[in-house]
Structure formats: C-alpha cells, structure tokens
C-alpha cells in the first residue's frame, strides 16, 4: 500500500448563514461561492477522506470522534434558529475513526469514539460537511475540540491522525471549522448591516489571512495565544484549530496558501482558505516551540490517593535508560569457528555470537539498540520493570540499532556499505513505522539493501526495533 498523505487543508466558517440564507447578504453569498469552490477543488483532488476539526463541538473527557457510519438528524442553531433547520445525513468513515482513537491512545491522549443515534453533531461540522461534501461521496471523520487541551495535546492529536492517514494510505483533506475573530454582534442586526465587529478585529483578521495566504501556517499557530487574547471572545474553546491544522501539515511554514473569501457573519470573521502542501518557498518560522510527539500531561485525577507530586513523577519523557535487573540475563557471545564478536556491541541475551561468517557472507544475529557496557536504550525503553508502557523515541532506537550493526561489521573488517539484506522487527508498526523509516532512509536507505519489515508482539528486552542482517563478508587473506 502507498503511504497516505495530506493533500490539502481548508479553513471554513461555522455559522449557518452560508447554507441557509446566503442570498440575504453579499458577503455571505461570497463565502458560499468560496465554499463551493473549495468543494470542487476537493472533489477534483481525488481526496478519499475529509477530516473535520470543529471548534463548535467542545469536549471535556479528551477528544471525541464521530464513529456513527451514517448520522442523520435535523440541526437547529442555538442562536440563529430563526434562519431555519438543517437536515443532515453524513458518510462517516468509522474504521478511520476507531483507528484514530487507538492512535491517540498510543500517543498518550485521552479520546473516545461516539456512535449514538441522535448524537447532536455541531453546527460547524454540519455546515462544513454539507457544503464541502454535498453528495457525501467522500467519507468523513469529525473530531471535537477539547476545552482543556493546550498546544501540546492538540498537536499530538494531529500527529496521531496523520499516523493513521499514512498507515491506511489515504489521500486526506483536513478542515478546520472556525471563525477568525469570533466576536459577534450581541443584538440582532439586519443582514445588510453586517460587518466585522470592530476595526481592530478586522485588522487582526487581515494579518492572519496575509500569513495564511503566504502559506505561513505554523506562524499563525505560534501566534494562536496572542490572537485569542486579541480578537476572540473568551469562550472555553480557544484558538486551537491552527495548532491542529499546523500539526497535520508537519508544522510547516511554506505551504501554498490562497484566501478564497473573507467576510463578516454577524460580526465574526469568516474566511475560506485553501492551503496546498506544495512548497511555496516562503521561508522559515520566526520562532519555534517544542515539537511534541507524545502527550504526557494528563494528570491521574481520578485516583484520590495520588497527589500532584506523584503524578508528576509518572510523566514519562523518552530518556536513555538501563534495563532493570529483572530483564533477561546477558551472555558472553559464543565463540566458534568463523564467529565475529565485538566488545563495542551489546552483549547477547542468549548463547549466540554477534555474527558468523559463511563463505562470502556475514550473518548477524538480531541487533537491537542497547548500548554496550551500560545496556541503556537510546530513546528509552518501551515499558518499565512492571510492564507499564512508557514513551520512547523510535528514531533514536533505530539509529542505535544501525550504530550497533556498524560496530559488528567493522569488527569483521567491513562497514555498513556491505549490508545486503535486512529483516526488521517492530513491536508497534502503526506508531513507529514512520520514524523508523525516516532513519532508514538517511542511513541504510543510502546503501540500498533489500528489506522486510515485520510487526511482532514483543522482543526479549524492552526495545521497539530489532534488525536481522546479511552482509557481504570482507575478503580474507
């Protein structure tokens, strides 16, 4: 299967005016036309999945993901109920929803799927899906905006989503249903009188759109807190969608952006923006925040016996850590004719050599990332001595495996360039394949051996990756 990818991103407004009464205001009409343009572009792109992050669906227990394959109901807006009702019937990719939920869990997030008859899908999602996918030809998935989530949690949510996009080979489009400035008029207005609530809101909106038009999505993400303070009503759901959308786009700042429309909806800033992944060459970010891979901030608040200090201790960061004494015993490598053993490689966990020479070939025993001498695991072990899962860095582990292979080959008088064939074993293919693959591409991928990658249940030590190598044997005298 080909690797999945994000083939486009859109920012769209949430209020029902664009679907119910676009003809009542020229601006609403232009937003509707931009919505229609976006829908056509999505259709023409060959997208096979729409992913909606909606700011009008707040959640508390982590993030929630719609998993009802065909939710149907009639939606009425809490404020604009006099504009009419919106019947909906959507085509939801329940398999993707469940996979995303599982991927969230693997990255330390709390989330759950929702598949109940009559569940009230929020106005932002309903408007976005009705207008972007009018014939329901593209399966969709909808995720809530967690009121307690900050940047790290929202970024990791995006990365978990992309784990599934890539693993399932999807051509996905990401959509944030949101306002820019969200300050509406607090009294009814005539449609003809609609405008952005204040000049200050309008100026901020235009600055945001200037950035987005230049494809500088991550810059907007990093300004989210400032933007929220300046032009957002202090509702519980902050200006988070830019964090999520930037995370979906690998926190890039050089996308190709186009603002299709920008207008007021009852005073709030509504825009339709298209962000294409094609590099625009715009440039680097002004500054950068930590790039979080795993969310470790959840407090174990349900357990009254633990206070905050204990909870803080339970937060696990990927660190190089020695295997505890209750791991498998370490052995001296066995010596035999044609065996190759190295003091620079980690000791075996059984009676076998590091490698064996047979004719023109070297057969290496399975090589993991443990470090010789300390037995520590770069990137951290995958679980503690009690079996509790830990966060770990697959890239660091993969690099350490390749370093160990190099040491063994050098002991035999060769080098990494001699590798002919590799069988790799991963304990968590969904989580780790991408990171493993990136390190591979930069190292053994430059050498060009054949490769087979397998998912397995466990390895003898708490590591995530091991490689079995066949290499050319250096010529002997």
């Amino acid at each position: 299967m080909r690797n999945g990818e994000l083939i486009g991103s859109y920012i769209v407004p949430v209020h029902p005016h664009t679907i119910l009464v676009p003809e009542q205001n020229e601006g609403w009409s232009r937003l509707r036309e931009a919505y229609d343009t976006a829908a056509q572009r999505i259709k023409d792109s060959g997208a096979d999945l729409l992913i909606i992050y909606s700011t009008t669906w707040p959640s508390i227990i982590g993030h929630q993901i719609i998993a009802d394959p065909n939710p149907e109901w009639v939606m009425v807006d809490h404020d604009f109920h006099d504009l009419g009702s919106i019947p909906y019937s959507f085509n939801i990719d329940e398999d993707f929803a469940h996979a995303w939920d599982k991927a969230n869990e693997k990255r330390g997030l709390k989330s759950r799927t929702v598949a109940y008859h009559g569940f009230p899908i929020d106005v932002g999602s309903v408007v976005a899906l009705k207008l972007l996918n009018p014939d329901n030809s593209i399966p969709a998935v909808i995720v809530s905006s967690n009121v307690y989530a900050n940047r790290s949690e929202t970024t990791v949510l995006a990365k978990a989503c992309m784990d599934v996009v890539k693993a399932t080979g999807r051509k996905a489009v990401a959509v944030t249903a949101m306002s820019l400035s969200n300050r509406m008029f607090t009294t009814p207005i005539e449609p003809k009188d609609d405008r952005i609530h204040s000049l200050k809101d309008d100026e901020w909106n235009r600055k945001i759109l200037e950035f987005l038009g230049e494809g500088r999505l991550e810059d907007v993400g990093q300004l989210s807190r400032t933007i929220h303070q300046q032009i957002r009503v202090n509702k519980v759901v902050a200006f988070k969608p830019m964090w999520w959308l930037s995370g979906m786009n690998q926190n890039r700042n050089n996308l190709t952006g186009e603002v299709l429309a920008y207008e007021a909806i009852h005073g709030a800033g509504g825009a339709v923006v298209h962000l294409d992944p094609t590099p625009s060459g715009t440039g680097d970010k002004e500054y950068d925040e930590d790039d979080v891979e795993y969310f470790a901030g959840e407090r174990n608040v349900l357990d009254a016996e633990h206070d905050v200090i204990v909870e803080a201790e339970s937060i696990t960061e990927p660190v190089s850590k020695a295997i505890e004494t209750n791991g498998p015993a370490l052995w001296e490598p066995t010596e035999s004719e044609d065996s190759v053993n190295s003091n620079a490689a980690p000791k075996p966990v059984g009676a076998y050599p590091h490698a064996r020479r047979v004719g023109d070939l070297l057969y290496l025993s399975g090589v993991g990332p443990r470090q010789p001498g300390t037995n520590s695991i770069p990137g951290g072990p995958i679980h503690d001595e009690n079996g509790n899962p830990l966060n770990y860095d697959i890239k660091a582990q993969t690099q350490a495996v390749i370093d160990n292979i190099t040491r063994i080959l050098e002991e035999a008088g060769g080098s990494l360039a001699d590798v002919l064939d590799v069988t790799s074993f991963l304990v968590d293919m969904d989580r780790d394949f991408q990171g493993y693959n990136e390190v591979w591409a930069e190292t053994l991928g430059q050498v060009g051996p054949t490769r087979t990658t397998l998912a397995i249940k466990a390895l003898p030590t708490p590591i995530a990756v091991e490689m079995k190598v066949i290499a050319k044997a250096p010529a002997t005298d």
Binding site: W57, P58, S59, I60, I61, G62, V74, V76, H78, D79, F80, H81, D82, G84, S85, K110, V114, Y116, H117, G118, F119, P120, D122, N146, Y148, R183, M184, F185, T186, T187, P188, V233, N234, K235, H266, E298, R299, N300, V301, L302, D303, A304
Partner: protein, 298 residues
C-alpha cells in the same frame, strides 16, 4: 387578577450523571446507581415542594448558550431525543415538555422593554438542551408542570462577570415582575453547578463512587464559602463576590443563572435550605431551595 408569586427559588444543577444514575425509562443507558448524595438531595427538594401548589417552572440553563441576546422557548410543546454532546455514554433521554408560552412571552416582552436583547425560539425542530432536560427531570420527573426555558446569554464571555451580573440582575427583576403580574405561582430554577473544574478522564465505570471527589481543595473552599452564604441569607455577598468566585472556581455561575435566580428572589436575606451537596466528575454541585412562600412581603 390575583397577584402572582414565586413560591420557591432553587439552585438545581444539571449534570446528566444524576439522570443516568436514576435509570428512568426515558434514558437509554443503564447505571448501577451513583451520586446518591445529590440524588437524595433532589428527593428532599421534591418532598419540600410536594404540598406546594404552583403553575409553572421558570428555568435558566447554561447549556442553551446564546450570544445574540436572551432567548425563550416559544412553542407549546417539545418532543425529541436529547443526547449530551459531552457524555453521550450517559445521557440519551427521550423527552417531552410543555411550555407556558404565555408566561414566556410576558417575561420576554418585559425584558425587551427593559432594553435587553431578546428573541423567542419558535423553530419546532429545535432540540432542548440537556441541562434543561436534566434539571427538569430531577426536579419534576413526572413532567406535569409547564416550563419557561430561558437561554444563557454569554455576556460574561463577551464582557466580564460584572456586565453579566448587571444584565442578569435586570433579567431577574423583569422575570419577577412578569411572574407577579401573571397571577401565576411559579418555581424558578437556576440550573448550574458551583465550582466547575472537571476531571479530564472518566473511570471505566462512570458511577464508581470511589473515584469521585472535588478536583482541588481550593474548589472545595469556594463551594463551602458559597454554601455558607446560601444558608445564612447573604445573597448580596454572593453577588459581591461573584467575580472572584466565577474566575477562581471556574464556576458555572458564569452563565448568569445564579445571579438571575437571586435577583428573581429580590436578593433574599432569609436562609436557603441546603438539600444536598456533592461532586460530579470533580465539579461541585449544591441543591438549594429558598422557600420564598414562607417569606412573603408584609
């Protein structure tokens, strides 16, 4: 016409867990109980009013959130399925409720005359929010009284607690005037919690009471402070401290319900009756009755 009367005002919180734990036939999920302290509190409230005659219930729910003014349900009958968007695993309730449209319109009109932005909600497809349904069920599970349902104008979000209080004091005043002018006997309900910091995880068995407690000591202190004011008739102090309480306890009083309730009762100086207090997924919830019928003006 006989002068109308507010027979009681109640703080009547709406976490759906309470309905879930009651296992009424209208709710789809099934529970093994839980949150008994609060459910018994609602029992005591119902018993307190069992022999009191009244015509309608006027309720302000923080989960019908409106940003363009204050809205009122304006059709005589609503029937639908209410699914909590946050706890759909607990609350999927088939409801039917009647609206006292006449009284609703009267309060609406007086609020509009007082300069508040208002709107009647006349769309028959509208789903009544789960806060209204939860409080409605726990207060009156027989659903045999008509309601006036008032939205929560999020003026606190737009401006400040102070502005919210100004508007809710005014809305409470006109609500009281409309009730007195209507000739009807009415119970007014503010459907909100006190401290409102949730847990962000849920136990495998939601009704596992070994996992239930307040989220922090500070939240507990604020809740007890408010309850002390409730029990000693210090409504003005509640109003005065509302900005600090709302900010520091992340209190659901931000929706305006508590201020509105106290205003409809003309800032009572008599003690409120604490029928129950308990936490729900970490939030603080009190069931309090101000028996206004026993404190009529001379």
């Amino acid at each position: 016409m006989t002068k109308g009367e507010i027979v009681a005002g109640c703080l009547a919180p709406h976490p759906p867990h309470l309905v879930y734990a009651e296992n009424p036939p209208q709710n789809e999920p099934v529970a093994e109980g839980g949150w008994e302290q609060l459910r018994w509190g609602y029992e005591r409230l119902r018993e307190s009013l069992a022999d009191v005659e009244y015509d309608a219930i006027v309720l302000l729910s923080p989960h019908w959130q409106t940003y363009v003014g204050t809205h009122f349900l304006g059709l005589p009958h609503f029937k639908n399925l209410s699914v909590d968007p946050v706890f759909p695993n607990l609350f999927r309730y088939h409801y039917e409720l009647d609206i006292d449209v006449e009284l609703s319109q009267q309060i609406h009109d007086r609020a509009a005359e007082a300069g508040l932005a208002t709107k009647m909600m006349n769309n028959p497809d509208f789903r009544v929010d789960y806060g209204t349904i939860t409080t409605g069920h726990m207060f009156n599970p027989g659903w045999d009284k008509p309601f006036v349902v008032i939205s929560s104008n999020r003026s606190r979000d737009y401006y400040s607690v102070e502005v919210m209080q100004e508007m809710m004091m005014e809305l409470g005043r006109v609500t009281r005037e409309a009730i007195l002018a209507s000739g009807k006997k009415v119970v007014v309900l503010a459907s909100n919690s006190l401290s409102h910091r949730h847990f962000t995880t849920e136990s495998a068995i939601p009704e596992d009471m070994s996992k239930e407690h307040i989220t922090s000591h500070a939240m507990h202190l604020w809740d007890m402070r408010m309850i002390e004011y409730f029990r000693t008739g210090q409504a003005q102090r509640i109003i005065d401290e509302m900005p600090e309480f709302t900010e520091q306890a992340i209190a659901e009083s931000d929706g305006g319900g508590l201020t509105w309730l106290l205003s409809t009762l003309d800032l009572p100086t008599y003690p409120g009756i604490l029928h129950g207090y308990g936490t729900i997924i970490g939030t603080g919830n009190a069931i309090v009755e101000w028996p206004a019928r026993n404190h009529k003006e001379a």
